[in-house]
């Protein structure tokens, strides 16, 4: 199973999102220093979850980072995160 699939599973279980976009941007970073060249190093994640309601941005990012800790250890190098509670204006 790919890192993307594992992250999708982990976030679905952890956040019960109403929207979850995971975009693999590893190509954009291929060859830069620290890029492992696995094709699964850099991801952009947009997630809308009721579990974010009433939590600060820092808290939301920590929740996601904790849920994806195993992937971050295994070779996912960078996550760009956008986290919203339902009803918040989503910046695409």
């Amino acid at each position: 199973m790919s890192a993307e699939m594992r992250m999708r599973d982990a976030l679905f279980i952890g956040l019960e999102p109403t929207r979850l976009d995971i975009i693999n941007e590893s190509e954009l970073h291929a060859g830069h220093r620290g890029s492992p060249g696995t094709g699964e190093s850099h991801f952009r994640i947009l997630v809308v979850s009721p579990k974010f309601a009433g939590r600060s941005r820092v808290e939301r990012h920590r929740m996601v980072n904790d849920m994806l800790a195993a992937e971050l250890k295994r070779g996912v190098h960078a996550l760009a995160l956008a986290t919203y509670a339902p009803g918040e204006r989503v910046r695409e």
Partner: protein, 117 residues
């Protein structure tokens, strides 16, 4: 172990004695990572003076700031001793005008008073 304690103490002192601190890769003049460069640019846009800490100069600070904040990535922005966020959060706040508001509310001198991003 004592090492990490010493580093955490140094970080604590640094964020206590400087209103705005950016832990970054490179320096404010020569950022060495796109994310660090973005945050530098936003702070410069608001005209906020800040202390830059180049984590590439010292591996123990690079690791220490991650454990201190419980945050896995660099850059990390601190304002008045409080962790504000990494690049994504700071950018979002900048775009929403919240970063300027925070700087204003904390009473930090800055030169750009327009709310336009």
């Amino acid at each position: 172990m004592t090492d990490q304690t010493a580093i955490h103490d140094w970080i604590r002192k640094t964020i206590a004695t400087n209103d705005v601190v950016l832990f970054m890769k490179g320096t404010s003049k020569f950022p060495q990572c796109g994310f660090s460069a973005q945050v530098t640019q936003m702070l410069n846009h608001l005209g906020v003076p800040f202390k830059d800490v180049n984590v590439l100069d010292d591996m123990s600070i690079r690791d220490g700031i991650k454990t201190f904040t419980n945050w896995p990535t660099i850059p990390q922005l601190y304002v008045k001793g409080e962790f504000v966020g990494g690049c994504d959060i700071v950018r979002e706040m900048f775009q929403e005008g919240e970063l300027h508001q925070l700087i204003h509310d904390k009473g930090i001198a800055h030169t750009n008073h327009s709310h336009h991003a």
